[in-house]
């Protein structure tokens, strides 16, 4: 934060501290009145999200803060993005691609959405293909997106078999070695990981980020 102006530092701090109204007021003033570089504002948002992620890892923040942080980011993004004149040149290089979806038979998505958000703010390209995703759709999306990591989500116990079936289908399609597979959801543990043949499981969004970082060889 050493290279920031006072105003920039204040924006980062307000976002990290969940001071939504004040943070949005400053962001809007910077973007719409002072015509500050929207790319810079988005970078400040990412800095704030880094702090949020660290506080989550430290057990200071929980799901409500991740969700609120995500919504604040969306609101600022909605103002900033139309103001960006440049093409994608300025975009930071992404750490890797993650395809994520809830396996067939299961409609739950709260956990998956939070994992998607955390991966996104931690520098991954994420494609979220929704809930109740048939095996065939996973395979089509993998062929199209070519992910480094595939995340299978599921909350119900029926998801154990859906995950196993989905991973077996990756094997049959000859694509299993092209990416890593992580699974997650309310009932997932090491027993389920072994049963499904996934590479790893995580119990929260931070673990999902750590798994992906390790697989991509990124220092934590």
């Amino acid at each position: 934060m050493a290279d920031m102006t006072d105003q920039e530092r204040q924006l980062v701090q307000l976002l990290a501290d969940m001071q939504e109204d004040e943070a949005l007021a400053i962001a809007n003033r910077m973007l719409l009145e002072e015509k500050k570089n929207p790319m810079r504002v988005l970078e400040l948002c990412r800095n704030a999200m880094d702090i949020v992620g660290k506080r989550f890892e430290a057990g200071e923040y929980f799901l409500p803060e991740l969700v609120l942080a995500g919504e604040m980011l969306e609101k600022i993004g909605a103002v900033a993005k139309p103001l960006i004149k440049q093409g994608p040149d300025g975009e930071a290089k992404k750490l890797g691609r993650v395809l994520i979806g809830t396996v067939h038979g299961d409609l739950h998505d709260i956990g998956k959405n939070i994992v998607t958000f955390m991966l996104d703010i931690n520098g991954f390209d994420v494609r979220d293909i929704g809930v109740d995703v048939p095996v065939k759709k996973f395979i089509e999306e993998i062929n199209d997106y070519k992910p480094d990591v595939v995340g299978l989500s599921g909350f119900l116990t029926l998801a154990f078999d859906s995950m196993k079936e989905t991973i077996a289908a990756f094997d049959s399609a000859g694509m299993r070695q092209r990416f890593k597979i992580m699974i997650g959801g309310g009932q997932i543990d090491e027993t389920v990981r072994k049963y499904t043949g996934a590479d790893a499981f995580g119990v929260n969004a931070v673990e999902a980020v750590t798994l992906c970082r390790n697989w991509m060889g990124v220092a934590a």
Binding site: E20, P64, G105, L156, T157, F160, Q187, D189, T191, N204
Partner: protein, 448 residues
């Protein structure tokens, strides 16, 4: 049936409770008529009450709780289980006798047979077999905002009006027309007389007719639930609970604001949320006590959704979740009820906080919380229930199930924990039959 006095001692069945005796637990209304069933019923029920009152029972009680596992057990579809009142009752009675548990969940019928009533109301909060999910899939709740962020004031000002004109039309397609119902508060004298014409609007008229049909189907469903409870009792099996309820926080989070809405309201609508939680506490407490009395059973199951360690901070739990729920449990206890919260997921970090409840009055059912640690922290405060893991039950072998039961019996029950053995949240839907048999055999083997 033994009656319990306020000191928690069991009186001889023949001795009528003195009119001046302090209130104990609500007695179970249903009792078997044949002597052998009556003896079996009393022994089983005593085992559970011993646990509640923190006395060591003659052996570790074991519960039977299942929802859609009944479909696998009976070789029927989830859809059949939801629509076939008679068939589902028969299956549940068969399971009760086969596994011979100490308490049996009425939920094995009650949580399943909603099909016809949901259909009549075109229910929007669930997708169920044939309605959004396949015939062999369990129903799933749709997490949505059924009350919007800016509707707190309206709900607080006129809860019944909000239910009728906003909530019912949102959760049931058959009730859409209620949105046109006249607003009653403020109506008076001739304004009221003339204002009632709003009930003749075509939409309102249709919705009221639908409401009657739904009520009639719900009445039929309730009749089957009552019949199941009677038949279960006649066989000598006490129910594990008379019904269920929710905490004030889960009531608002799950059924009104939805997950995202609730989590952001902790910051955006804090004061209004706290106000609504307090109002909801009063409504829920009364409803819960009334329902338990009608069911004639002291134990009330309370699935706890939003308390897990990962879902909010300790500070948020102490501010938003625990105060209204604790007061609700205290009021239930004062009314002779036995609250049985099912603390879903891992609530290890909450144990010290939720231990602040009178000793010998509750059953705490844990889903993923380490039961050994729960015994250490709460063993002298509450009875425990649970918690064979779903992954073990569905993917493990009978030998592994046996070992897991033995582990809980030896390290919880035989170390003084008043444990009612069960799975984490009843039998997982996919559990192989041999694992279920192994579970109940092991409970008898190691529970003595």
């Amino acid at each position: 049936m033994p009656q319990l006095d306020g000191g928690g001692r069991v009186n001889a069945p023949a001795a009528p409770a003195a009119a001046t005796a302090p209130p104990g637990f609500l007695p179970t209304a249903l009792q078997p008529t044949t002597p052998s069933a009556r003896a079996a019923f009393d022994a089983r029920w005593r085992r559970v009450l011993d646990c509640v009152e923190l006395r060591t029972p003659d052996r570790m009680p074991v519960a039977l709780y299942a929802s859609f596992w009944m479909a696998k057990y009976g070789g029927v579809s989830c859809q059949q289980l939801m629509y076939d009142y008679q068939g589902t009752k028969q299956l549940a009675l068969r399971a009760a006798q086969e596994f011979d548990a100490d308490v049996v969940a009425p939920a094995m019928v009650a949580s399943n047979i909603y099909g016809p009533t949901l259909e009549a109301m075109d229910f929007r909060q669930l997708q169920w077999a044939g309605h959004g999910v396949g015939e062999n899939q369990p129903y799933q709740y749709l997490d949505r905002e059924y009350m919007l962020n800016d509707e707190y004031e309206e709900f607080l000002a006129d809860p019944t009006g909000f239910y009728l004109r906003k909530y019912l039309p949102r959760i049931g397609g058959a009730f859409a027309g209620l949105a046109e119902m006249p607003v009653l508060p403020g109506m008076h004298y001739f304004r009221l007389v003339a204002g009632l014409r709003g009930f003749a609007r075509p939409g309102v008229r249709a919705a009221l007719q639908n409401l009657l049909q739904v009520a009639e189907e719900a009445e039929r469903m309730a009749g089957h639930n009552a019949d199941f409870a009677e038949r279960l009792t006649a066989l000598g099996y006490p129910r594990d609970a008379g019904g269920n309820t929710v905490s004030p926080y889960d009531f608002v989070a799950d059924y009104f604001r939805g997950a995202r809405g609730m989590m952001t309201d902790l910051y955006r609508k804090k004061d209004r949320l706290l106000q609504l939680l307090e109002r909801a506490r009063v409504w829920l407490t009364q409803l819960t006590i009334d329902n338990a009395r009608a069911a004639g059973h002291p134990i009330v199951m309370i699935p706890i959704h939003w308390a897990p360690d990962a879902f909010m901070s300790d500070k948020q739990f102490r501010e938003f979740y625990w105060p209204t729920f604790r007061q609700m449990m205290l009021d239930m206890i004062a009314a002779g009820l036995i609250p049985m919260p099912l603390w879903e997921a891992d609530c290890s970090k909450r144990l010290e906080v939720i231990g602040d409840i009178p000793a010998g009055k509750c059953i705490y059912w844990f889903e993923r919380t380490d039961m050994l640690r729960a015994r250490e922290v709460l063993g002298d405060v509450v009875a425990l229930r649970g918690n064979l893991s779903p992954s073990l039950m569905t993917t493990g072998t009978p030998e592994e199930v046996d070992a897991a039961v033995r582990h809980l019996a030896e390290n919880v029950f035989h170390k003084g924990g008043k444990l009612i053995l069960d799975c984490a949240f009843g039998l997982p839907d996919e559990t192989p039959l041999e694992n279920v048999r192994a579970m109940y055999a092991a409970a008898r083997r190691y529970g003595g």
